[in-house]
Symmetry: C2
Subunit: 323 residues, 2 copies
Amino acid sequence: MKLATTYGYLKKDLNQIEQALEDTVKESQPVLHDASLQLIKAGGKRLRPVFAMLSSMFGDYQFDRVKNVAVSLELIHMASLVHDDVIDDSNIRRGETTVKAKWDNQVAMLTGDYIFSRALEKFTEITEPRAHQLLSKTMIELTSGEIEQIRDKYDLNQNFRTYLRRIRRKTALLISSSSQLGAIVSHTSDLVEKALFRYGYNIGMSYQIIDDILDFTGTEDQLGKPAGSDLLQGNITLPVIYALEDPYIKNELERIFTQKEEIEEKQLQPVIEQIAQSSAITKARNVSDLYLKKAYDTLDDLPDVKAKNTLKKIANYIGSRKV
Amino acid sequence: MKLATTYGYLKKDLNQIEQALEDTVKESQPVLHDASLQLIKAGGKRLRPVFAMLSSMFGDYQFDRVKNVAVSLELIHMASLVHDDVIDDSNIRRGETTVKAKWDNQVAMLTGDYIFSRALEKFTEITEPRAHQLLSKTMIELTSGEIEQIRDKYDLNQNFRTYLRRIRRKTALLISSSSQLGAIVSHTSDLVEKALFRYGYNIGMSYQIIDDILDFTGTEDQLGKPAGSDLLQGNITLPVIYALEDPYIKNELERIFTQKEEIEEKQLQPVIEQIAQSSAITKARNVSDLYLKKAYDTLDDLPDVKAKNTLKKIANYIGSRKV
């Protein structure tokens, strides 16, 4: 099943958001324009817009208002990806050359700054002060998460909790904010808004953990980048944390991470395959399922509108996600 | 004369802003906290807060409102400096090691992102939608200016107009926005708001041109960085554009900029001294004076309040500025 089929009825609105994304980065400065457009054209699931729209449907759905939220959030997500690629020194994402690889780190930094400014410009259309406060707090968490990611790189002594806090800040909060902002601009009840926030948060956590699993179990073709990229970049994800309980894997990784020479892909290949075959995958999967269950639970607090069924289908999709 | 003596009566409010700047970047994440605090402690003239406060005095001055504007703008300025140092590969600013030198480019990028997020958080306290629109448009211009700076580096064929557009985006607009935002939050008349915008814009242009002159005529001790740093980083400022009319200087620079090896400081030293001694300095000074005159002219549109006299004194100071 493809994710998009679960919310086919949003297609018309999503197309408009796609167009708005392109229009928003229209810019006379050619490098900024080309780099931004490349990011948009590379696609992505547009999860944040989808969650904002679906959440908005629990209140007074007005597309023009939720469109601004959706476009802003997707642009902020993109801006953070461009900066992420600088941090992770990534040359490829979604099968495409990254901005930092096609131009350089400096252009990537400024492209991120630019897209972020455009996101804010769009967000000024939103009148609810609470929406602005929520967005800025989310941004602060996002950057804190990013700096934690740098700090924790190649650190084999980090634990379960460090990992969860990092993905909460780096991924889950922007998704939960998407849901909550959709609710805010359509003026749902407090109870509904809180439930949507929790749904987004738990789905976001579940989703990221599966992403981190797929980085081991997926193929390069499926992932749009080589398998094991996270570990090669020094990012210690949940499967690795569990796999480190195996003394052999722990020794191997310690040996490779402390060597003087730059780490090569082929050196890590055996460990990556061992992790992919190990029980660490199942353990990580169980944690993801726990968050997924919590996401399902929040649905009980939501009224029976069409969007609720779609949120359930998205949860089903994420639970069955192979890539 | 020191600039601060012209607005001594703002001292108490400025101290509170200083404290607010520190409080705003209080953060549990130590790297972000240390890097941000270092930037704040390195000082600076706090021009943007000063202009915001003075402009606010033409309306219903309420410190708590203008404080949020002042803190936001100074933080945005700082965030752009941290990113600038990555672009320019600068290891020293205001006599202090830069964030990118003390940590690295990645930390500097994220510190900029973080400070920027904190600025936005502060700005959410401001209720006027027009203020938010102005700020986001200014941010877009700022990032466009920064990418133009990269594009124009080492380009000896750029002209007067390219330079002016770049400093307009990179410097003048954030200063004019400071003035205008001060006016907006204190609800001055339209005429006054526009005059304050023009004052800030013209002062900003004049100020930046003098900064670019001082980079040639100042000493390392006065500048807090080596003289000629701009040229060494490939930034072609107004004195250089005028100096390129001299075929000898043009040849020398072309030769050095097209060499294969990295450019060393001592190679540029003779050219830097020639530019400092040339008529290019006077010509650039004349352009700065032209903007300064325009800044004075805008004062005619402003009512006679104490702040007007201070704006005049600041213009006098900038006109007489040696370093």
